[in-house]
Symmetry: C2
Subunit: 510 residues, 2 copies
């Protein structure tokens, strides 16, 4: 066994433990009886600590040293070299984060989340304020431990989107806002209610489930290596490429909820299922920082895949021209007054709203920018935790023209901060930007793509995505992936172009 193989065997076991943690989390969210929560918590804590101990052990250091000595001068672009470099970087970073700090963050999490849930229910921001204050302080400590040159945000975002910085995000956001706000203004001026309320009917769950399976399979999700279950907050999670689990949720009076959540999570699932088999159990399917077994390049890159399949494919006119009959044959009475075009319009209506998770493609990124700008200001000390609701309201008025009537529909709406997660929100927008760039590149590389999509053939797109992006797992960063396929890094022009075209047509803006 070479020194590199010895390191790889050690990392494979670490990756196994992270995949086991994923299994426990999936079970907890989809299967576990309520009574199991406390002992499951103990089991998760034990295995999380054990996995971390194994990764930051002297054994890892020894194996890393030996593998580096062995691979000196090897091809810098080879998977092995990249895996080794990422493992070394993660090891050094993990060593800089004190176990005591991680323990404090983990211990505060459940209490803080419970306080947030209660505060949200009671619409009492002041009850959550002290927890947010503590979570912010711990995240500032964490940023100092990780280290940064310019902005504490730069340290924290390395956990989710390696290489991204606050300065870069500010430029990107500026460009994006510059395009989105005028577009939104024109849309709002032209908006009118649809002639039929499609959701004033009952859509039985069995029919919805069958549809979700059908649509996920249609775009290429492989059920011999995956499952679709129910979860109140839909998610995708994998235990290697060979066992990828997606979830959705069902509302009897709102069919799009289940369908688009299923397409979104299937989009995440397609990424995981199409990673090269040789990357299973390797550093290149291991998020060493988040202690998570995951194959996508980053949070943003993962979101590119889910958003692309959900929105650019799943909310396209071509998609429903082809597949609306599937809905109608499951729900003939409920959809008797509808056709593909009406359905397409109904699931693409743009309406500024207070709630991020309900936002359409045009307004969604404004919700993300608002949160990211607030996160940066909190970390800088430019905004205090006490001032947060006011800042939130002011930005909501500026970006969306709305004033939250309460904090439940304002600063208290998302779980992230209560769970101690800062600098994660921008990944959603990075994903949206990347999805437009990738699909634009795919159209350039595949002259037949438009025709294929119009015929319902998704295999050429999936094959190209696998070849260009999916197969590489975490070997390349978001920026590297984009440069390889489009010659440039993250760029907002394709997203703005896509939104301009789609919504100019839908709202007859020209």
């Amino acid at each position: 066994m070479t020194a590199y193989e010895a390191l790889a065997a050690h990392i494979a076991e670490y990756n196994d433990l992270l995949n086991i943690l994923n299994t426990l989390k999936w079970d907890m969210r989809t299967q576990m009886p309520a009574g199991g929560a406390a002992t499951r918590g103990a089991q998760l804590a034990t295995l999380t600590k054990l996995a971390k101990d194994i990764f930051v052990s002297d054994k890892t250091a020894r194996l890393l040293d030996a593998a580096e000595a062995e691979l000196t001068g090897a091809d810098a672009d080879a998977y092995a070299t990249r895996a080794l470099r990422q493992t070394r970087d993660a090891y050094e970073l993990q060593k800089r984060i004190p176990a005591e700090l991680v323990g404090r963050l983990a211990a505060l999490g459940p209490e803080s989340e419970a306080a947030w849930a209660a505060a949200k229910d009671a619409d009492d921001y002041s009850a959550f304020q002290p927890y947010l204050q503590r979570m912010l302080a711990i995240n500032i400590e964490l940023a100092e431990a990780i280290g940064y040159a310019d902005h504490p945000f730069d340290a924290l975002i390395q956990q989710f989107e390696p290489g991204m910085t606050a300065a870069r995000l500010k430029v990107i956001f500026g460009e994006l806002k510059g395009g989105l706000l005028p577009l939104l203004g024109k849309i709002v001026a032209n908006d009118a209610p649809l002639p039929v309320d499609l959701w004033a009917a009952d859509y039985d769950l069995a029919g919805q489930k069958a549809l979700c399976y059908e649509l996920a399979e249609l775009i290429g999700f492989d059920f011999s290596r995956g499952r679709l279950d129910i979860a109140p907050h839909p998610f995708e999670i994998s235990f290697t490429r060979d066992d990828v689990r997606i979830t959705t949720r069902y509302d009897a009076n709102y069919l799009p909820m289940s369908i688009f959540a299923a397409l979104h999570e299937a989009g995440h699932g397609l990424y995981e299922q199409n990673i090269a088999p040789e990357l299973s159990r390797s550093a290149l399917t291991t998020d060493f920082i988040g202690q998570y077994a995951v194959g996508g390049a980053s949070y943003g890159a993962h979101e590119f895949s889910s958003r692309m399949w959900e929105n650019q494919i799943g909310r396209s006119r071509e998609f429903w021209q082809l597949h609306f009959h599937r809905l109608q044959s499951r729900f003939p009475e409920q959809l008797a007054k509808a056709d593909a075009e009406l359905f397409y319009r109904a699931v693409n209506r743009v309406q500024p709203s207070l709630i991020r998770v309900e936002a359409d493609e045009v307004t969604y990124n404004l919700h993300i920018m608002l949160r990211t700008e607030i996160e940066m200001a909190l970390l800088e000390g430019a905004v205090t935790v006490a001032e947060l609701p006011q800042v939130w309201s002011a930005k909501m008025r500026e970006y969306l023209g709305l004033t939250p009537p309460d904090d439940r529909r304002g600063a208290l709406q998302d779980v992230h901060w209560s769970a101690g997660t800062f600098a994660n929100f921008p990944c959603y927008t990075i994903g949206n930007i990347m999805s437009a760039q990738v699909l634009a590149a795919a159209r350039r590389h595949l002259p037949d793509l438009a025709g294929n999509l119009a015929r319902g053939d998704y295999t050429s797109l999936l094959a190209w995505l696998t070849d260009s992006i999916y197969q590489h797992g975490r070997a390349y960063s978001t920026e590297e992936l984009l440069r390889r396929i489009s010659g440039e890094g993250l760029s907002v022009a394709p997203l703005l172009d896509y939104l301009e075209r789609k919504y100019s047509d839908l709202y007859q803006l020209n």
Copy 2:
């Protein structure tokens, strides 16, 4: 923290890992897509090895020494003392079993099981013979490593039924056969077909599922701390008392399959759900030898609970007099020609058969004795692997009056030996014997029990079982539990008495 508390905290983490292994196994058998098998195997192997390393570590030895010094002279009967003694015994035993031997057994398992499955399909014993030869040899090595005074079987059965010996089993089996064979002869002479074939109808799965939930809940299974799922080979598994998962299987043309499997597994589940909460994550819910998180005293003791609820309660006339209407209201057409008495007779018909898992209460133990006697003879060298099919046939004729027409329905029918498991079969019979003893003791201790059961009130029985047996987890052995409630150890008289009464009535033998 006392030295004992330090040991307990260490064991709690080991117990967490075993509960996690249980979760992975449950998922594998009930949820996992087929494609996930290979990587799940790697994950199980990694965690199994890690758990074993943690248990046989120097840390365990150090903590054990300190705790023993601290508890010298403590009450020998207290949970802590018992937990400490069991941990020490298991540690010494595990140290005696070479890791290399365990690895060899584990590595041969899948290959041997596959060879067995193929040999069974092809009815070709000779194709399985070399694997059985190797499994027997490894088990003889294992017996030598564990150590024994009289018989290698004595060593192997310690894994499943601590304290039991081959000599003791021979005596027990002799008594049991002495009662069963004459009873069976009389029954067979009096047997006649039932007037109606109740299973010549379709019983839809949704109705069967609802019934299984209803019956499990009726006898006390707590669904806030448990689930019921589908598995091709039904089983019960727990991840502490607060998360107990049972399974059953459904046959549209044979309603009893799902119902009695559900009652059987719910019987196992009741044991786990009623262990004292303070034993969660302790040595007294840890099978250190099998590396399994389980709360029952032994395999035999666990089988007492499942067999008692399935057979002594679930196949009693009183049970169906009360609950047959539940079946009939779910399946009015299918059961139109039936009544409680006919159903009772149908699910208690005694018929010598070739297949153990389909055997009735009277013949079941004869199947077990046949296997156990063969296991002992193989370990002694009195029978060779080549002779096994002939010995099997001869014993089948002697005990059940049947000659297997092929090895598929003979020596190849069970998976156990191919998986490398020897000396586990007698636990089924120990469970049957114990179930009759326990229920007889319960009747003596609870004068109202017959009336309660006739009214469908199972709570007094469950409370008494919890108090006498379930709550103690693994603190007492099967023998100790029986002595505490009945004043004597394992004794076949109550089982023979129960069978004599029940079947003399059913077959009008007197």
